[in-house]
């Protein structure tokens, strides 16, 4: 009899442990936006379209912490990874538009993924209201320090190159496609499953170049194993002050991943304003600023309208340039 009890309590303990851990992402008590000024009155679910641990997830968790402190409510992060974030986007788009479901989303889902997948898989920004920008994650073009390509000019002279990307429909792919298109160099796109394998491939000399997010590459750049050739953002990166942007080098390439806070379309304005205020307070904290610095993220604390304009312009610009160079990101586009 005693043995029975032990086992049951054992299984019970295990179950309790899961419940405890999944409670962080499983409990859903809706907060109504009906009583206007009292938002948020309960738990606000914060979806993230990526697995735990990636930069999207870490940023969401940091924003969640900031909003919880600023607005005095609980903002549990729920990971719903898949389809470049489209699954999480669908959850938010179909949620009650009362501010009880929000998400920090990636620009690539709206500006780049549509160039690579079939039309019915495209997520539209019109299903959301953008509360405001969060931060920008820049890409740097790197080559192995032992390779013959140490400058953009070296690349220009090459007759055939292989470049590693962090996947189909990512900023890493678009940035390099545009770069080599502009340089007029024949180059083959080798997609990897994320930043780490692409980094491995360029360190191991399997590919000639790769565009990686700053945080993924910076340590190996500092150690002298990788050479940074250019950064693709609108301005130089703080941790790599000597590396020129592609625009500075006379190239028509500007690509960055940026993230912003969204709520379902039709959410009342006062809820959006409250969240925007919460974001502002979050951005002002020392903890948040230190987080950005450690993760090599550039603040992009602009209004929601500006983000929507950026998304539309970027999507159009990428599509036009790719068209011009005759490049297609995916066969399904």
């Amino acid at each position: 009899m005693a043995s029975h009890r032990t086992t049951i309590s054992l299984a019970g303990a295990a179950t309790a442990a899961t419940l405890l851990l999944s409670a962080c992402g499983g409990v859903s008590t809706s907060t109504g936006g009906d009583d206007g000024g009292s938002y948020p009155s309960g738990t606000v679910e914060m979806y993230v379209g990526a697995d735990p641990g990636g930069s999207s997830d870490l940023i969401s968790r940091q924003v969640s912490t900031g909003l919880s402190d600023a607005l005095d409510a609980s903002f549990p992060v729920i990971n719903a990874s898949g389809a470049n974030g489209a699954l999480a986007a669908a959850e938010v788009a179909s949620a009650e538009p009362d501010g009880s479901t929000i998400a920090v989303q990636n620009a690539s889902l709206f500006a780049i993924t549509p160039l690579a997948v079939s039309e019915d898989e495209v997520t539209s920004i019109e299903d959301f209201e953008v509360v405001g920008g969060v931060s920008r994650d820049d890409y740097v073009l790197v080559t192995n320090a032992d390779s013959e390509y140490q400058t953009i000019e070296d690349l220009e002279g090459a007759d055939s190159l292989k470049y590693g990307t962090t996947g189909v429909g990512t900023g890493s792919q678009v940035a390099q496609a545009l770069l080599f298109g502009d340089l007029g160099v024949e180059a083959t796109d080798v997609p990897f499953d994320g930043g780490a394998p692409a980094l491995t491939a360029v360190l191991g000399g399997q590919v000639d170049a790769a565009a990686l997010q700053i945080g993924e590459a910076v340590e190996n750049i500092e150690a002298g194993k990788l050479t940074p050739l250019t950064v693709f953002g609108p301005e130089r990166v703080e941790s790599l002050p000597d590396v020129e942007t592609a625009t500075e080098q006379g190239l028509e390439v500007e690509v960055a991943q940026y993230r912003f806070l969204t709520v379902p379309a039709g959410t009342p304005q006062d809820v959006i304003d409250t969240l925007a205020g919460g974001l502002e307070e979050t951005f002002a904290t020392e903890e948040y600023q230190a987080f950005n610095e450690q993760n090599n993220l550039a603040p992009l604390e602009v209004s929601g309208d500006e983000i929507v304009t950026m998304l539309e312009e970027d999507g159009q610009r990428y599509a036009d340039l790719l068209d011009e160079y005759g490049i297609s990101l995916g066969s399904a586009s």
């Binding site: 049951i8 189909v168 191991g204 066969s331």
Partner: protein, 514 residues
């Protein structure tokens, strides 16, 4: 290697606070390891915020403890309930669960604990002495090498378990097909997704494994119990005997070394390690037919290998800044948040972190061994629970586990579908193991081959001209040809020869042996 830095690191690891964090880490790890879906990666991510106010070294020691503690926890469910929570423990299920059915769960868990401890210890020693050398080995492994290795893995899949070879190959082929479900990672085109965004990233390994193994087994048992009253196997809390220890010591040693080297390879290293270690033991065995029916080496080898691999997967993270798997990626993030950047400069810049973490793993593994000795006795009692109670608990664990992967109800239904398939497979005499393993390796095979061809500019000769992939492929051909050659030789040297009286029956006998 700097001996002083190493000893200082040891001093860091045995500080009382760090010992406590290490203990918390391995305990939490062991607990979540028991649950199939909630892996170490998600747990580390969830616990990350509470480490902000802790010393970086202590935090990393705890998070690392969760990671390797979970490796051991996963073994417990594989052996007792046939629930492999990670791809690297699928192989353990074959003989582990067979042993449990014979009432020798204690032996299996005991050997697994010892094997895990030895595997981890050998890997830590290897890491201490060889980290820089082995790290460059990981960089030499490009897509062509992964392609060759994964092909070898698919071939080995057919040899695991005890079913017949043809059925194993059929199951493996279905596994390879299932691996193609999802958005093509090279073109973005959807394959077999039936317009469902939920399927666009393919099917998760845990969903397939929980369905085929866990739910399939539950359904099968239910049916059997309705048919006839079955006496449950007697459960003894036996610790492995001296004979069993002796029998598996070689397997543990070989498994550890295989695990250490293959574990360094990011992506798929641990799965390959457990598979290769198992196949090696089966090849060496005098009587290979014991495998899949409760051979103790069949538990010892893969368990030593996957723990050694878990430990050596820290090498690329700490020395080159490359995370080898999802858990390592989160540890990378954790280190950044704590103000430590993993990479080539870490050993020099923060020797306290580098050596402190490595040495804490020695201690953590001793803790795991000490914890598991009394706990094995507790765990095996699970099997004394009446099936009518155990089955719903197992079902609950699988459903909860699958749900926690990405908070998706859709995944639960997919798992139940696989449960029904698993049940039907068992009825038809198919093992789920080859299917699940081929499923995991299929993704690696396809993407590595396509990536290699892109790199070679479409010329497949590159596979044989590169030294490492060429060697692996040569080995692969050898593995295929050796049994055939042996058969031919056996025919030639058979006494009597073609003119002998035995000759007319020989072809038939050959046929029946096949």
């Amino acid at each position: 290697m700097d001996v002083n830095a190493f000893l200082d690191g040891f001093a860091v690891a045995v500080e009382p606070t760090n010992l406590m964090y290490c203990l918390i880490g391995v305990l939490v790890g062991m607990l979540i390891g028991v649950l199939p879906g909630l892996g170490p990666a998600a747990t580390i991510a969830i616990l990350l915020p509470i480490t902000y106010n802790v010393e970086p070294v202590s935090a990393i020691i705890m998070l690392a403890g969760i990671y390797y503690g979970a490796q051991y926890g996963g073994t417990i469910t594989s052996v007792l309930l046939r629930l492999p929570g990670e791809a690297s423990s699928v192989v353990t299920v074959f003989d582990g669960f067979a042993l449990a059915k014979q009432g020798k769960a204690g032996t299996a868990l005991g050997i697994a604990a010892i094997g895990s401890f030895v595997g981890a210890t050998i890997a830590i020693v290897g890491m201490t002495l060889l980290a820089p050398v082995v790290a460059s080995f990981a960089l030499d492994f490009g897509p062509p090498e992964y392609a060759a290795l994964a092909l070898l893995g698919v071939l080995l899949v057919a040899t695991v378990g005890n079913g017949n070879m043809i059925k194993a190959l059929i199951a493996a082929a279905i596994g390879l097909l299932l691996a193609t479900v999802g958005r093509d990672s090279f073109t973005g085109a959807s394959r077999f997704t039936f317009d469902s965004l939920e399927l666009s990233d393919g099917i998760d390994f845990v969903v397939v494994a929980m369905g085929l193994f866990g739910v399939g087994e539950i359904l099968h048992n239910l049916e059997q119990r309705h048919g006839k009253v079955q006496a449950p196997a007697p459960v003894a809390n036996v610790w492995p005997s001296r004979g069993e220890l002796k029998q598996s010591s070689g397997a543990i040693g070989r498994g550890s070394v295989i695990g250490f080297f293959l574990g360094v390879l990011p992506g798929g290293g641990a799965v390959m390690a457990s598979l290769v270690a198992y196949a090696a033991e089966k090849k060496r065995a005098k009587d290979p037919s014991r495998f899949g029916r409760g051979a103790i080496e069949g538990v010892a080898a893969p368990e030593s290998a996957n723990n050694a691999a878990a430990t050596s997967s820290f090498i690329p993270l700490l020395t080159i800044g490359i995370p080898a798997n999802a858990s390592m990626a989160i540890l990378f993030g954790a280190l950044l948040v704590l103000g430590v950047t993993p990479g080539p400069a870490l050993v020099d810049e923060r020797p306290d972190v580098f050596w402190g973490v490595i040495n804490s793993m020695y201690i953590g593994n001793i803790m795991l061994l000490v914890l598991s000795i009394p706990l094995v006795g507790v765990f095996v009692r699970v099997l004394r629970v009446r099936p009518a109670i155990l089955a719903p608990i197992t079902a609950l664990i699988t459903i909860l586990g699958v749900y926690t992967i990405r908070n998706s109800v859709f995944d639960i239904f997919v798992m139940i579908t696989f449960g029904i398939i698993g049940y039907l497979m068992k009825k038809a005499g198919f093992e789920p193991g080859p299917l699940v393993l081929a499923f995991v390796l299929g993704i690696l095979v396809e993407s590595s081959i396509r990536r290699s061809l892109l790199i070679f500019g479409g010329d497949p000769t590159g596979f044989v001209t590169r030294p490492i992939s060429g060697t692996i492929l040569a080995f692969l051909v050898l593995v295929i040809l050796l049994p055939l050659l042996r058969k031919l030789l056996a025919r030639r040297t058979r006494p009597g020869g073609p003119s002998g009286p035995a000759s007319p029956t020989t072809p038939e006998r050959e046929e029946s042996l096949r």
